[in-house]
Amino acid sequence: MPNLTIDGKQVEVPAGTTIIQAADKLGIRIPRYCYHPALPVSGNCRICMVEVEKQPKLQIACYTPVTDGMVVKTGSPKVLEVRKTVLEFLLVNHPVDCPVCDQAGECKLQDYYMEHGQYDSRLGDVKVKKEKKAFSIGPTVMLDQERCILCTRCVRFADTVSKTHEFGVFNRGDHSQLDVYPGKQLDNNYSGNVVDICPVGALTDTDFRFKCRVWYLSKTKSVCPGCSQGCNITVEWDKMRPHQHKKARVMRLKPRHNPEVNDYWICDKGRYNYRFIDENRIQSPQFKDQVISWDEAVETVAAAIKPLQDARRTNRIGVIASAQLTNEDLFAIRKLFKETLSGALVDFRVPETLGDSDNFLIKADKNPNTAGALNILKTDAEVAQIVQKARQGEIDVLYVFGHDLVKLFGVETVRAIAGKVKLFVYQGSNVNETCGYAHLNLPSSVYAEKEGTFTNCQQKVQRIWPAFQPLAESKGDWEIVALLSDKLGKPLTYKYSQDVFKDIAANVAAFSEMSYEKISDQGMVLKL
């Protein structure tokens, strides 16, 4: 393996590594526009040029392979001068319309100008104007050709990652412009990623555009709950300026790098699946049409369960859990309904029709935690059977987590169940048709408000972090179950999600030896 020196620091890397990769490994950040670790090298922006000892000309770090004994300087006067030069060239025809540009604050032209530019402008010229200013190139993305620095990241993304080939660079010289091919639209399942990789304000997200200046955003690591792939994401939110966007907190979701799960990408469905976090939420516990306190709510459930528990007729309790819940939530359900109230009928596998899928990131199973639910709940009952029994009056307490039974079984069935069971509990984050038939609605928090873990289709356990407090009166699912457990005389001794997880690790073989620290932000595979 070649051993080289970059800025006086030694590093050993596999043969074939480029200088920029070796520098990244050392934490030396060489500026880059066209280079992206997940795309083929293009070498066109020229800002990553570095000095290599014994080479007369500067070399582009993104393309030059390392050799044994190579000595690289990334901060020599020659290198710094060329960086300034390249920045100056990139700005020759750039409109520098930062005050009205949505990229401002996360723009590499701005960043590198502050780091490496800082020259006095000598651009007295009229700039080359492109035909149109910002225009839509598809349902989710806007293109501003004047801001484009023609790094071709988006072209290479569409050619090699989404393989949909929408982009091309047309014309020549300083009249070159990025566009979609005539008659084509940027409309594939991964369109939004081009906005993430665009280093400047050329490609912006139609959904996010002008909604919020990026410096107001807080960022929380999370995992997309949209399907069983469990793509790593960052929830970007703004709580400081609720007057700006109808009190919505989440402004956008961005992919978070995880080479084993989603690399740098997420699908559009996942990217734009965030409105439910702030919209259409159940605000407080509600019994029939009455808003009640949490204490009253829990008391109501306990009062219905207690006689069954005492009479050892727990088989008249039906629980429909969900693979949308975290491992921690599911484990609390297991503790209460399968241990304390053993005999209760518990399952989570509702008869869902499979969704769309591809051979990349989109999985047909639209639940983020099916693998976790299978390992933690190990059910013997079946949802269809629970529903059947509830309808026939063989169940007194039906406790549903998150599922819209009306959608799954039809309004007739749900109406019949509501008439037959003594207590129909719906615990979920958002209002759906089932809420109208449930006797008791309990507001739970959404994933962005929870700490916990999901297990994806690769059996990888991945953490989610709470971005902000649960909305209104809502509470975490396991916290609600814990309140109920307490009321039934079997307190769960958990204070934090981490306590639940410790219990999972101690009691579920597949999770043994796992901890939040070990899982960290890149996940850990189940032991099966």
């Binding site: 020229r46 000309k57 500067l58 390249v86 060239f89 020759v92 010289g173 300083d174 009249h175």
Partner: protein, 414 residues
């Protein structure tokens, strides 16, 4: 003086097979295939000191020897006949006057490098050249000089004539390959060089038309004969395209090492109308401009390089003392701005910036800082780009500013 490449020029029907056959046509190819090993052919060409006449002057035999023999992929020969360099019009005459000489050179080269397919990438505007070459190819196929088992030797070779679409950059060999593959003409990052990964990802030799037209005579008459014609390290003759302010503009075949003064005054008839010479571009528009005190330079690759210019494509553009050098610089800059492919940022943005700057100076709209900035902007392009186009912008436009600064200063507003 013995003519090589132009030996048939001007003869009746010199472009037809019959005429070419009368002068031992295709016998060099037969000799190479039947009496020589490929290695012996390469060796002969190496000894002849034949250098790439497209402009880079790279030793031809050495280029051929870079083709990896062990590579199981097909190998290709690509003939660069894009001839887009302003001031250059030599390959055009080879296509029109002696296309079979090129084809024979192609056969020998293919044999030497183990290729069975050659592409001739020919400038799209050269309609007559395309017709003549295609005619020669058709004749050669019909008479067994191209195709399967040519001349009864068992050697197969196909030749494809491919017209370009008008981009100057497609004369850059890797942009040419991209174009030939049906893509936009963008130069490739190097390495790998075409000898290893070239056309369609296969080992490829790319040679200029004139270079390959010299190959058959070298095989016929021997490397020593050819090497002796030229000067040290630069064998044979060269076609010089003389244009601009001379009495007899045209293509002249002269030995490498002939001085620029001889070419202009002895062969091209000197400067007309009693005017004086002011400047000369010695090797196509990319070559740094020369002044009258530099006329005694020998016109071979090494001598021109030594005085900071280049032999380039052999396009000699002569300017007399009526020429406005700011205007000349502006014309060069406009060409570069128009032809920059736009792939890498210094050249894409810089070439246009340079042109606008020089244009402003020419029109008298510039201020002192425009001229002050110009050399810096020009310099920042060269050395920082994927291909040599950026260097050409720097060297060419830069040379006008440094050598005729007074004329620039006179046009700047005080």
């Amino acid at each position: 003086m013995e003519k090589i490449v132009t030996r048939h020029f001007g003869q009746p029907n010199s472009h037809l097979l019959d005429s070419y056959r009368q002068d031992n046509g295709y016998e060099a190819a037969r000799k190479a295939i039947t009496q020589m090993t490929p290695a012996a052919v390469i060796d002969e060409v190496k000894k002849s000191n034949l250098r790439g006449l497209g402009g880079a002057g790279f030793p031809t035999g050495m280029k051929w020897s870079f083709i990896p023999a062990a590579n199981p992929k097909p190998k290709y020969l690509v003939i660069n006949g894009d001839e887009g360099e302003p001031g250059t019009f030599k390959d055009k005459y080879i296509f029109e006057q002696d296309p079979h000489a090129l084809l024979e050179g192609i056969i020998i080269t293919c044999y030497a490098i183990g290729s069975h397919k050659a592409y001739v990438y020919i400038r799209g505007e050269y309609n007559k050249s395309i017709d003549r070459l295609q005619g020669a190819v058709d004749e050669a196929y019909k008479n067994g000089f191209l195709g399967k088992g040519i001349m009864g030797t068992g050697f197969d070779i196909d030749v494809v004539v491919h017209p370009g679409a008008g981009a100057y950059i497609c004369g850059e060999e890797t942009a040419l390959l991209e174009s030939l593959e049906g893509k936009k003409g963008f130069p490739r990052l190097k390495p790998p060089f075409p000898a290893v990964v070239g056309l369609f990802g296969c080992p490829t030799v790319i040679n200029n038309v004139e270079t390959i037209a010299c190959v058959a005579p070298i095989i016929n008459k021997g490397a020593e004969w050819y090497a002796k014609l030229g000067c040290e390290k630069n064998g044979g003759n060269r076609l010089f395209c003389v244009s601009g302010h001379v009495v007899k503009p045209g293509v002249y075949e002269l030995p490498n090492g002939t001085t620029l003064r001889e070419i202009i005054y002895d062969h091209a008839g000197g400067i007309p109308n009693g005017r004086k010479l002011k400047a000369v571009i010695p090797g196509g528009i990319s070559a740094p401009i020369l002044t009258p005190d530099q006329l005694d330079v020998k016109m071979d690759f090494d001598s021109l390089k030594a005085i900071g210019s280049m032999a380039g494509s052999g396009g000699i553009i002569v300017m007399d003392d009526s020429t406005d050098m700011v205007w000349a610089a502006m014309v060069a800059a406009r060409f570069f701005a128009h032809e920059s492919c736009g792939q890498c940022s210094p050249c894409r943005e810089g070439s246009g910036w340079v042109y606008r700057n020089v244009k402003r100076i020419y029109h008298g709209d510039a201020r002192e800082h425009d001229l002050k900035n110009l050399p810096g902007i020009v310099n920042n392009i060269g050395g920082n780009t994927i291909c040599a186009f950026g260097d050409a912008v720097s060297m060419s436009v830069g040379s006008y500013v440094s050598k005729f600064r007074g004329e620039f200063e006179a046009k700047v507003k005080k």
